[in-house]
C-alpha cells in the first residue's frame, strides 16, 4: 500500500485545512468554508471506516501504523470532530466566531490527532501531539472579550508547554537508553534500566497531563469553561481519544512484556486517584460546564482502568469506551451549547436550567439521554463501554480497582441526575423563550442520541459487530 494511502484521512484533512486557510485569505464566506470542512471530515471519515476492514501494517518507514487500532482511532476522532463541527455553526455565529480561520484551525488540529493516533514512533507521536495541542491552545483562547477565555488559553498553554517539556525529556531518555525512537524497535531492545524507567515515567507524566488525569488535571476545568462550548466538546472527545489511542499504541507496542507490570501499577494508582477526585469534585460543581469538565476527568479515570489491565481485552475496552464517550459527550455539550446560545455565555449555572426541560422538550429529552449514558445506565452506550472496561480489569485480576470504579460511577449519578432534576422538576423563576434549533443542529444531536441508544442495545442484538471488530485487531 502506498504510504499516502495509509495516511489518507490525515492527508485529506490537511489538504482541506490548507484550502480553508487560502479561502479565508481570499475572503470566501464562512459558510463555504464550513461546508468544505464538513465535506472534508466526511470524506476522511469514509476512508477511515473503509480502512477499518482493511489490512494493517506500518507506513512511512515505520513512522506510523495504519489499519486496525489506528483506523478505529481515526474513526472516533473524525466522528467526534464531525459532530462538534456540525453543531458549532449556530453557536459560533452567536459569539462572532463563525469564521474560516477557526475552522481551519480545527482541521489542522485534527491532522495532529490523526498523526497522534497512528504514531508508531516517538517522533511522530510528539509531532502529532504538538500539532494538536498548539491548535487547541488557540481554540481555547478564541473568546477574547471575557477573562475566562484568556485564562483558559494562558493556563492551557503554559501548563501544556511544561508538560511537553516532561514528555520530550522522557523521549530523550528512552532514546538514550535504547537508541531507537521507533516503538517496536524500542520494545525489541528495551531493558528496565534506570534510564529507561526514568524516561518512561516522564513520558507518562506528559501523557497524563494531556488526558487530564489526576494529579495533572488542574487545567481541565478552567480550560473547558473558557472555551466555546461546542469546541470544548471537540477538545474533550477528539483530543482525548487521540491521546488515549496513542497511549494504547505505546503500551501495546513499545513495552516489552517484562515492563508492562511496572506501568500498569502506576496507571492503577493514577486511575484510582482520577476516578475518585474527578467524581468528588464534580459533586460540588454548580456550573454545568465545569461539572462536565470534572466528569471528563472521571471518565479519563475509567479509561485508565482499562489500560491498567494491560491486556488486549483491556485495550479493546478502552477503544470501545472512547467511541461511547465521544458520542455521548459531544451530545451533552451540544445541548448545553444550545441553551447557552439562547441566553448568553454565562448561562451555564445549574440554577438557570430550572424548568428548561419543558420549554423545548426535544432538547431536554436528548440531554437526559446523554446524561443517563454518561452515568452508565443501561441501555445506553455508556453502560456498555464501562462494562467492557471493568470486565477487562476484573479478568486481569484487578478487582479492587474495578470496585472503586463502579463505586465512583455510582457516585457520579448524583451530579448527572441533578441536572435532570433542575431541567424537569424545578420551576423556573424567569420566563425564557428558547429559539428553535436549526434543522442541521437538531438532526446531528438526534443522530448522536440514536447512536447512544443503538450501541447501547447492540451487544444483545444478534448481529453485534463493533466489539468483535475491535477485539479482532488484537487476535492477530
Amino acid at each position: 500500500m502506498h504510504d499516502i494511502i495509509a495516511f489518507l484521512p490525515g492527508v485529506i484533512i490537511a489538504v482541506v485545512g490548507l484550502i480553508a486557510l487560502l479561502m479565508e485569505a481570499y475572503k470566501k464566506s464562512a459558510d463555504q468554508i464550513y461546508g468544505l470542512t464538513i465535506a472534508g471530515i466526511l470524506a476522511a471519515l469514509g476512508v477511515a471506516i473503509a480502512a477499518l476492514f482493511g489490512d494493517s501494517g506500518t507506513a512511512f518507514t515505520g513512522m506510523i501504523v495504519y489499519g486496525g487500532v489506528a483506523s478505529f482511532g481515526a474513526v472516533v476522532i473524525l466522528l467526534g470532530s464531525l459532530f462538534s463541527v456540525v453543531v458549532s455553526r449556530d453557536y459560533l455565529m452567536e459569539i462572532d466566531l463563525h469564521r474560516g480561520d477557526v475552522y481551519s484551525m480545527i482541521l489542522l488540529s485534527i491532522v495532529g490527532m490523526l498523526a497522534l493516533a497512528s504514531a508508531n514512533d516517538l517522533i511522530s507521536f510528539f509531532l502529532g501531539l504538538e500539532t494538536m495541542s498548539i491548535c487547541l491552545y488557540v481554540i481555547a483562547g478564541l473568546i477574547k472579550d471575557k477573562k475566562t477565555g484568556a485564562e483558559a488559553a494562558l493556563k492551557y498553554f503554559l501548563l501544556g508547554a511544561f508538560a511537553t517539556g516532561f514528555l520530550l525529556y522522557g523521549i530523550a531518555l528512552i532514546y538514550g537508553a535504547t537508541g531507537h525512537t521507533n516503538l517496536t524497535e524500542i520494545a525489541a531492545v528495551a531493558e528496565p534500566t534506570l534510564m529507561f524507567m526514568g524516561g518512561s515515567a516522564l513520558l507518562l507524566v506528559g501523557i497524563f497531563f494531556k488526558i487530564g488525569a489526576v494529579p495533572f488535571h488542574m487545567w481541565t476545568p478552567d480550560v473547558y469553561q473558557g472555551t466555546p462550548t461546542t469546541l470544548t466538546a471537540f477538545m474533550a472527545t477528539a483530543a482525548k481519544s487521540a491521546t488515549f489511542v496513542a497511549f494504547v499504541l505505546i503500551m501495546s507496542r513499545m513495552l516489552p512484556e517484562s515492563d508492562t507490570d511496572i506501568w500498569t501499577n502506576v496507571i492503577q494508582v493514577v486511575a484510582i486517584l482520577t476516578m475518585v477526585v474527578g467524581n468528588l469534585i464534580a459533586l460540588a460543581q454548580d456550573n454545568v460546564k465545569r461539572m462536565l469538565a470534572y466528569s471528563s476527568i472521571a471518565h479519563a479515570g475509567y479509561l485508565l482502568v482499562g489500560l491498567a489491565a494491560g491486556t488486549p481485552e483491556g485495550f479493546t475496552g478502552v477503544l470501545y469506551y472512547l467511541f461511547a464517550y465521544t458520542v455521548m459527550n459531544v451530545g451533552a455539550f451540544s445541548v448545553i451549547a444550545y441553551y447557552e446560545r439562547n441566553k448568553g455565555l454565562d448561562f451555564t449555572e445549574i440554577e438557570s436550567y430550572a424548568g428548561l426541560g419543558f420549554k423545548f422538550p426535544l432538547m431536554g429529552v436528548l440531554l437526559s439521554i446523554f446524561l443517563f449514558s454518561l452515568v452508565g445506565i443501561p441501555p445506553f452506550v455508556g453502560f456498555v463501554g464501562k462494562y467492557y472496561v471493568f470486565a477487562a480489569a476484573i479478568n486481569a485480576g484487578l478487582i479492587p480497582l474495578a470496585i472503586i470504579g463502579v463505586l465512583a460511577s455510582a457516585a457520579s449519578a448524583y451530579y448527572y441526575l441533578r441536572v435532570m432534576v433542575y431541567l424537569f422538576f424545578k420551576d423556573s423563576h424567569k420566563e425564557y423563550s428558547l429559539k428553535p434549533a436549526s434543522l442541521l443542529f437538531s438532526s446531528a444531536v438526534v443522530l448522536m442520541a440514536a447512536l447512544t441508544l443503538y450501541y447501547g442495545i447492540e451487544p444483545v442484538l444478534p448481529f453485534s459487530g463493533l466489539i468483535e471488530l475491535i477485539s479482532s485487531y488484537y487476535s492477530l
Binding site: 504510504d3 495516511f7 490537511a14 490548507l18 486557510l21 507506513a59 512511512f60 518507514t61 513512522m63 506510523i64 480561520d101 477557526v102 481551519s104 484551525m105 489542522l108 488540529s109 491532522v111 495532529g112 498523526a115 514512533d121 517522533i123 511522530s124 509531532l127 502529532g128 504538538e130 500539532t131 498548539i134 491548535c135 491552545y137 488557540v138 483562547g141 478564541l142 477574547k144 472579550d145 488559553a153 538514550g176
Partner: protein, 173 residues
Amino acid sequence: METYAFVLLAVLAIATALGMILNKNTVNSALLLVLNLVSIAGVYLLLQAQFLALIQILVYAGAIMVLFLFVIMLLNVDEEESLFDKFRIKYLVAFLLGVVIFGQILYSLGGVTDMLPEVSSEMVQIGTVEAIAEVFYTDYLFAFEMTAILLTAAVVGALLIAQYKVKDSGETE
C-alpha cells in the same frame, strides 16, 4: 589545534550560559545567549557538522534571538528582582533537581575519556547537507511533513490570537 579550539569554545559556552542566568539585565542575558548559541555552533563545526552549525546560527542566533531582543526592547522590561531574596522550600527542590540532572549528565559523560572524538570520514559524510536531506526525504518524511503542518498551525494560530481586538472597549478592529 582542534582541542584548543574546543576548550576555548566550551569554556565560552559555559561561561556565557552562566552569565545569561546570572545577569540581571534582560538584554545582556539575551546577548549572552546569542554568544552561547554561536559558540555551540562552533563546537558543531569542530565535529564537522557544518549544516547543523550554520542552521544553528541562521535560525537561533539570526532569527529567534533577534525576535527575543525585539520583544525585550519593545516591552522595555525592567530589571528583574532577585530570585533569591528569601529562602523558600521550592528553591531547595529546584536546586536538588538541578543537582540530579547535573549528576545525570556527569554520569553519562563518565565513560568518555577523550575530549574530542576522532572525526572519521563517515562523520564528515553525515554532517553534509546532502546526507541530512536524504534522511529528511526518506526515513523521516512523515516527521518532516508533520513539522510543516505544525509550523503552519503555529503561525496561523499566533495570528488568530493576536489579530482581533477585544470588543468591549468599543474600538474598531
